[in-house]
């Protein structure tokens, strides 16, 4: 197990380096002069020159690369042009919005998606299965902005149970903070619930056909043990992968959901940066998203080995 973990961790280092390299190259993939592109079409030569100096674009490529990596090691992602403050600070400020949203959505996904998939598999080809599969399909195919709007109309406008949008910091009013999280989390989670329920159902159906499930029954174990212990642990192997990807996507922030609910999270930070050609922020966002996904993959790989001992060897 130790060597497996060590190998996995070592393997993610080059990927992380590649992610940083690609984030850095953003600036140089811009056709023409990046400084001119950032400054916009109405800018004077002096303004373009100022940006060039500010971003260090006048220096040789390798010096720029060294500066970028040097900055990274000190936690410096550069300065935002639009916000006129360090990129790192801009991201950290928005984490209290995106992180709890992602965690709530993940919790909903796990608590609803897995049981729904298991129940559908156990009642395969009955109305229960059809209902779960149908709803999962709906969850996957309904556009999240539409769903978000419908939830606002129903719970915010008609029933007036929950705010129609906006974010209240936890430190200001914990109850209002929690209420402001409900609808966005649900809107974010629905797609993931649908995906996870379908994967869980399919995998469970396959596992239920396995000989070891028959053995568990032959041993006279109660049904909840056959399903909840012997079958479920095998189901978790592929399901953990899906959960890892889902959580990665949730953490990168959702532009649509954050916009509809007026939550200034990481998704909107990156969207605004793209519209305003704020390259340092785009770079930082790309780096953040890429790093999160690489780290989550690492966690998933380690979880694999915890669940399935065969993984610890071989590879």
């Amino acid at each position: 197990m130790f060597w497996y973990a060590a190998r996995r961790i070592a393997a993610s280092v080059p990927v992380l380096l590649l992610v940083t390299l690609i984030s850095f190259s953003m600036m140089h993939l811009v056709p023409g002069d990046p400084a001119a592109a950032i400054a916009g079409s109405g800018a004077t030569n002096a303004e373009i020159e100022a940006i060039r100096l500010q971003l260090g674009l006048d220096k040789p490529f390798l010096v720029q690369l060294a500066t970028w990596f040097g900055g990274l090691l000190q936690g410096d992602l550069g300065r935002s042009i639009l916000l006129n403050r360090p990129v790192w600070q801009a991201i950290v400020e928005r984490l209290p919005i995106t992180l709890p949203l992602a965690l709530f959505a993940l919790a909903l996904t796990l608590l609803i998606g897995i049981p729904a998939g298991v129940i559908a598999a156990l009642r395969a080809n009955t109305w229960v299965d059809q209902a779960v599969t149908g709803l999962a399909m709906l969850g996957v195919s309904v556009p999240s902005f539409w769903l978000a709007l419908m939830l606002i109309v129903l719970f915010g406008v008609h029933l007036e149970w929950l705010p129609t949008g906006g974010f209240v910091p936890f430190s200001e009013d914990p109850a209002a903070w929690a209420r402001s999280m409900v609808l966005p989390s649900i809107s974010l989670a629905l797609l993931q619930i649908g995906l996870l329920a379908r994967i869980t159902r399919g995998t469970m159906l396959e596992v239920l056909r396995q000989d070891y499930v028959r053995t568990a029954r032959a041993k006279g174990l109660p049904g909840w043990m056959v399903i909840g212990k012997h079958a479920l642990k095998n189901v978790m192997v592929p399901v953990v992968t899906v959960i890892g990807i889902s959580f990665g996507l949730l953490l990168s922030g959702s532009i649509v959901i954050e916009t509809v609910y007026g939550m200034p999270g990481i998704g909107r930070l990156i969207a605004n940066a793209i519209f305003g050609r704020d390259y340092p922020v785009i770079q930082g966002g790309l780096l953040l998203t890429g790093t999160i996904l690489v780290l989550l993959n690492l966690v998933v790989d380690l979880l694999y080995a915890v669940i399935d001992p065969r993984v610890r060897y071989g590879r």
Partner: protein
């Protein structure tokens, strides 16, 4: 000897797209307390299905027991009774010890869990007993094996683990469904003698299911030969094998290669067991039988006595 397991007129049907199809049609057999009983037949003859029906493990849907009764120690078994006896009084081991063991749990866990569930043993006591059982079925260094996973063991060791898990709660009947088919010949012999030894020691009855006639001859006292969902011949193993009365049993025995003969071709039975939906009328062996005539297609022949305690389902059995 009183009967421990009595199967009477057992039929199992499967729902298919073209209506219900019987895969087992009126199987009767009786296993005495402490007896070793063999069921032989080609694949598709319904021998495993008989075992699954006893265990209450026929996949439902699409299968169901459509007729007949199963008694265990005098008690008529319904689904509830089967669930109660499974793993305690009646245990079962399977053909593929690799896929029959759960890959993500340790060997110790898989042997001990039955003890914890059925005998309410503590974790510690169940583990200690599991180690004892592993040692008992001939696994060296059992305490260390407890924490190993199935993929770390050889095929023969895995089957020993299966046996240890099955014997954990001291069952009165062990059903062994092709327990040696997936193993090397030398390992087969070891597993068979282990089963025989354990049977002597514990006094349990064994229902051994196999397509391997050599295996049957070695270890069982009585045998039932199955073909296409029916028992075609039954009796003590010596007369059945030395003076087979049913043409199918004869053909089956003839198709065993003998080591001392330079026979060029083995007399194989032409054709194969038809699928349940395509079973012929009358005696189901008639299309493959060299002695069949029109009378054989009219009605299913009942089991008739051909000698004392020796029955065959054929309208013109070979005389002993």
């Amino acid at each position: 000897m009183s009967a421990l397991l009595e199967i009477e007129d057992l039929a199992v049907a499967f729902r298919t797209e073209r209506g219900e199809v019987e895969a087992l049609s009126g199987v009767s057999l009786s296993v005495g307390d402490g007896q070793s009983f063999g069921v032989v037949g080609e694949s598709g003859s319904g021998k495993s299905l008989t075992a699954l029906a006893v265990m209450g493990l026929v996949p439902d849907p699409p299968g169901r027991i459509s007729r007949g009764t199963i008694r265990f120690a005098g008690e008529k078994l319904d689904a509830r009774a089967k669930a109660r006896l499974r793993g305690r009084e009646i245990a079962m081991i399977f053909q593929e010890p690799m896929s029959a063991l759960n890959p993500v749990f340790t060997v110790g866990e898989q042997v001990a869990e039955g003890l914890r569930v059925h005998e309410r043993m503590s974790h510690r006591a169940a583990s200690a007993r599991a180690a004892e059982l592993l040692g008992h079925v001939g696994i060296p260094d059992p305490v260390r094996r407890l924490s190993q996973y199935p993929h770390e063991l050889s095929g023969g060791m895995r089957q020993r683990v299966m046996i240890a898990a099955a014997l954990a709660c001291r069952p009165r009947l062990l059903i062994a469904d092709e327990p040696t088919t997936a193993l090397d010949v030398t390992i087969q012999a070891q597993i068979l003698s282990l089963l025989a030894e354990l049977q002597r020691e514990t006094g349990m009855a064994v229902l051994l299911i196999t397509h391997d006639l050599g295996v049957i001859a070695q270890v069982v006292k009585r045998v039932a030969v199955m073909y296409a969902g029916r028992v075609v011949e039954t009796g003590p193993v010596v007369p059945v094998f030395e003076a087979p009365a049913h043409p199918y049993t004869r053909a089956l025995l003839r198709s065993i290669p003998a080591l001392n003969e330079d026979e060029v071709r083995l007399p194989a039975i032409p054709g194969s067991v038809p699928v349940p939906a395509a079973w012929p009328p009358g005696c189901r062996f008639n299309p493959r039988c060299e002695l069949a005539d029109a009378a054989c297609t009219r009605a299913a022949p009942p089991l008739i006595a051909v000698a004392e305690d020796h029955h065959a389902a054929c309208i013109r059995p070979f005389a002993a």
